[in-house]
């Protein structure tokens, strides 16, 4: 706790505190200024941040470039959707089922993919994500390509997810829990092994750590939190479809992590905010230049990614100087 307070004195800590505070009272702000639309963007930012934090555990801390993380969106989402479709609307059943399904799938494909290195790992995770994608598209009973409108999870008496503000606060609470977990992860012995294996896995093996098993455990954890994000995403739109796990979404997640700062606790959150802020602000900005340009905002966004990759490795987090942990 005292270290938390001490970190408030640095610009990074102060900004993060202000940011978290603003996110915490976002529903009040959007209500006060009558900007309901902003609340739905805020909800998506928070959900995507949870997914990006989970990807960051293996990508940022572990150096494992998974190009298929959106598949956990799909697994979490489809677990909710399929159960809801069969009349099992209770969140107490849906949510644990979704997280368990994501963790199980992560265990299975992690055990296979972590045997490979480098480009092979990137591609095998992408391929497994495509596999899940096509399975989802082939599930004709659950909408196939078109997807399925679902009813939101029910937590009888506790809270109503149809209420936008309470759903947002639930997502925000889960974001805080994910951040807390990730910070514990990063500083635990377990996390240190994962980070050590990123810089030199041979040495970690020589030190006697079973690197494969550690990585597999991290992969499963990451998948479970990704599944949680998928559950939230399905409830946000009351809709599931294969599109939520298309490979472009996996790419977007990587973009968010790198944009925010890999291997940093709050980086994925900064990244998610920046990503959605760009997505929302680039079209009107370009329209200022000339009417109609805004529609083609990705012409500007694409080269921005190239520039980030070339010149801004540390992401937004590095703007506040080097970290001390």
């Amino acid at each position: 706790m005292s270290s938390l307070l001490a970190s408030l004195r640095t610009p990074r800590g102060l900004l993060t505190a202000v940011l978290l505070l603003a996110l915490a009272i976002l529903p009040l702000l959007t209500q006060a200024f009558d900007q309901r639309y902003l609340l739905s963007i805020g909800t998506r930012i928070v959900i995507w941040a949870i997914a990006a934090i989970s990807l960051n555990m293996i990508l940022g801390y572990g150096g494992l470039v998974s190009f298929g993380h959106a598949m956990f969106f799909g697994i979490g989402g489809y677990a909710v959707g399929i159960l809801a479709h069969h009349g099992m609307a209770s969140g107490w059943i849906q949510w644990p089922a979704g997280i368990a399904a994501a963790a199980l799938w992560a265990a299975l494909i992690g055990a296979l993919s972590l045997r490979t290195r480098g480009l092979y790992f990137i591609m095998i995770t992408l391929a497994f994500a495509q596999l899940v994608y096509y399975l989802g598209a082939g599930l004709e009973a659950y909408g196939g390509d078109d997807g399925l409108t679902i009813s939101r999870s029910r937590f009888a008496g506790l809270l109503d997810l149809r209420d936008k503000a309470s759903f947002y606060w639930l997502c925000f609470a889960l974001l805080c829990a994910t951040l807390w977990f990730c910070s514990r992860f990063a500083h635990s012995r377990f996390g240190l092994v994962i980070r050590g294996a990123k810089s030199n896995d041979l040495r970690m093996t020589a030190l006697g750590f079973p690197v494969f098993r550690y990585r597999l455990a991290a992969f499963i954890l990451s998948g479970a939190f990704g599944g949680l994000a998928g559950i939230l995403l399905a409830n946000e739109g009351a809709y599931i479809s294969p599109a939520m796990m298309s490979w472009v979404k996996s790419g977007d997640l990587i973009v968010i992590v790198v944009l925010g700062g890999m291997g940093t606790l709050f980086g994925p959150l900064y990244g998610a905010i920046a990503f959605f802020a760009l997505e929302e602000s680039l079209p009107p900005l370009l329209d200022l230049g000339r009417r109609g340009w805004g529609e083609y905002w990705q012409i500007a966004f694409g080269p921005m990614l190239v520039l980030v990759a070339l010149y801004a490795r540390g992401g937004i987090d590095s703007l506040f100087g080097r970290r001390h942990d």
Partner: protein, 304 residues
């Protein structure tokens, strides 16, 4: 029996198209150590440029022949503008930057050619069928793809195995720094190889166009399959890419052609016909996972 033969030929035709796409990918990875997600964008650009040029020249062959140098030029420009800066970077940077290029190209196409898909019609002189066996007709255009694809594959094999450029390519694939130290102009070599890959991708794109349609993002899904192919074959191996492309082509076509009937034995007709394409897609990834478990560096990849 005839039906089976036709499907096998369709598989060969698809495999050859995939090989053209995969060859450039495996070369750029093998030699420049570059993960180029935007390779599918070159495939798409090849098709769109060909559509425009065919419109101008009013001739499929002339338009297609002019489109090839155009995609070569595009490849060289992309290489000089972006890729060159990425060779020394790690894979994550390459993934990120080339992902950005995909967004750029998809949107560029939407701005220039509009959101609606275009179609290139099969040239008149190929709009008939040929008898590959007595009494077994086969669309001449698909047959032309097999011939062209086979010829280009043979040309590539000759280029890599028998020419000085191929020798440098192979040397570059096994030790890039060494051939630089030996005084080979690496930058020129890399530009050439990238441009060559772009031509092959563009050729695949424009040949595939009459069979489907020219649309935004057409290169993205097929690119993932091309990656699967080079991973199965072993990254950097042309031979591996060829073998894997043939295998994947057969799996895909056979899956589409025969799975529906197989599934109908225990599923409803509509469920079977919707599940079959998905399953045949899935099958490709299952094969890849199987190969990687068995050989983590692909069929013909270098052992580490």
């Amino acid at each position: 029996m005839d039906y089976l033969l036709l499907q096998v030929l369709n598989g060969v035709q698809l495999g050859l198209l995939m090989f053209l796409l995969a060859a450039g990918l495996t070369l750029t990875f093998g030699i420049m150590d570059l993960v180029n997600l935007a390779h599918g964008s070159l495939y798409m650009m090849g098709a769109y440029i060909a559509w425009t040029l065919i419109g101008w020249t009013d001739s499929f062959v002339l338009g297609a022949l002019l489109a090839l140098p155009a995609t070569f030029a595009l490849g060289v420009v992309v290489e000089a503008a972006v890729m060159r800066r990425l060779y020394a970077r790690d894979h994550l940077d390459q993934v990120l930057a080339t992902f950005g290029l995909i967004l750029f190209f998809n949107e560029l196409v939407r701005a220039v050619w509009g959101p609606a898909g275009k179609s290139i019609s099969v040239p008149a002189f190929l709009a008939h069928t040929v008898e590959i066996l007595p009494g077994v007709p086969y669309p001449a255009y698909r047959f032309a793809i097999i011939v062209t694809g086979g010829a280009v594959a043979a040309l590539l094999a000759w280029l890599v195995a028998r020419t000085r450029l191929g020798m440098l390519i192979r040397a570059g694939a096994s030790n890039r720094r060494m051939i630089g130290a030996l005084g080979v102009n690496i930058e020129l070599l890399f530009s050439l190889v990238f441009g060559l890959g772009a031509v092959f991708a563009g050729l695949a794109g424009l040949m595939a166009a009459p069979l489907s349609s020219v649309k935004i993002g057409m290169g993205d899904d097929i690119l993932i399959v091309a990656f699967v192919i080079i991973v199965i074959g072993g990254i950097g191996s042309i031979k591996g890419a060829f073998v894997a492309a043939m295998v994947v082509g057969q799996i895909d076509i056979i899956g589409r052609a025969f799975l529906p009937d197989l599934l109908k034995t225990f599923l409803s007709t509509s469920a079977a016909s919707s599940a079959a394409p998905a399953i045949s897609q899935v099958l490709v990834y299952v094969v890849m996972a199987g190969v990687l478990v068995w050989r983590p560096t692909g069929l013909f990849g270098q052992r580490s």
